[in-house]
């Protein structure tokens, strides 16, 4: 089973690198979908089959389709001049070094705690559901309020406002 973890992890890392370094937005989004699918495989291997299904359905299915629709509506590809000017290989050096320092910090923190043994048992959706609707019931309701606020906000931002101008300003 371990080899599947390493294969999926390799695919996820490589496709994430391709996603953040690509020029074309659609290509990057497709690489990002591939990365999410690879991470979904890892969720399955981590004995969380319910979350693996949710990752495919909601992340790769819904959120990424939203991204792709917006990218298609914006018709990008015409304007990439500033980005082209900024996206030289030299620009990657300092952020990469800083992130690598943080990653080294994380590795050091992991190394400093004693190793523990993981015994994998599948956590079934039933347990997740029971926990979700008993212990975390209040958080579920707060998430519902958040989703409602998101719907209202997206509607408000997306609605085309009628321009109201005074006739003296109109001629200007």
């Amino acid at each position: 089973m371990d080899v599947f973890f390493y294969i999926a992890g390799f695919v996820a890392i490589v496709s994430t690198i391709m996603a953040i370094s690509g020029r074309n937005a659609i290509h990057s989004l497709l690489y990002l979908i591939l990365s999410l699918l690879a991470i979904s495989v890892i969720f399955y291997l981590l004995s969380a089959p319910f979350i693996a299904a949710l990752e495919v359905i909601i992340y790769a299915g819904a959120i990424m389709v939203l991204f792709i629709f917006v990218t298609m509506m914006l018709n990008i590809g015409i304007e990439r001049e500033t980005e082209k000017k900024w996206l030289r290989p030299r620009m990657w050096i300092i952020p990469t070094i800083l992130a690598a320092i943080l990653l080294a910090n994380l590795i050091f923190a992991i190394k400093s705690v004693p190793a523990t043994r993981t015994i994998n048992e599948a956590i079934l959706p039933k347990q997740v559901g029971i926990s979700l609707f008993s212990t975390y019931l209040l958080a579920v309701e707060i998430a519902a309020i958040l989703l409602m606020a998101g719907v209202i906000g997206a509607y408000h931002l997306g609605s085309q406002k009628k321009k109201v101008k005074h006739r003296f300003l109109e001629s200007k």
């Binding site: 959120i63 939203l66 991204f67 994380l106 029971i130 979700l132 975390y136 997306g158």
Partner: protein, 104 residues
Amino acid sequence: MLTVPVEIQILFAGIIFFLGLIGLLVRRNMIFMLMSIEIMFNAAGLVFIIAGTHWKQPDGQVMFIFILAVTAVEVSIALAMILLVYHHFKTLDSDAINNLKDTN
């Protein structure tokens, strides 16, 4: 059964997170910045799942579901704002949106 040590799993999630961080720092296109934020959210959820599996508790998966809800809200609002910005400025470059600075 998976016998990969939990340190390697956390390390993998950290690599994904820092790739998203690099993307957020380097890219100036707002679509790419939002994608990088998605990558970082996903890596954080991965850490929750790893911890939940490690301690054999369903709480990690519950937290991932909450992260999923937050991500969905964040993406829909942010994409609506990106559409507005594009209609107003005719560009997706985040450097172009500095109108609070009095340039002209």
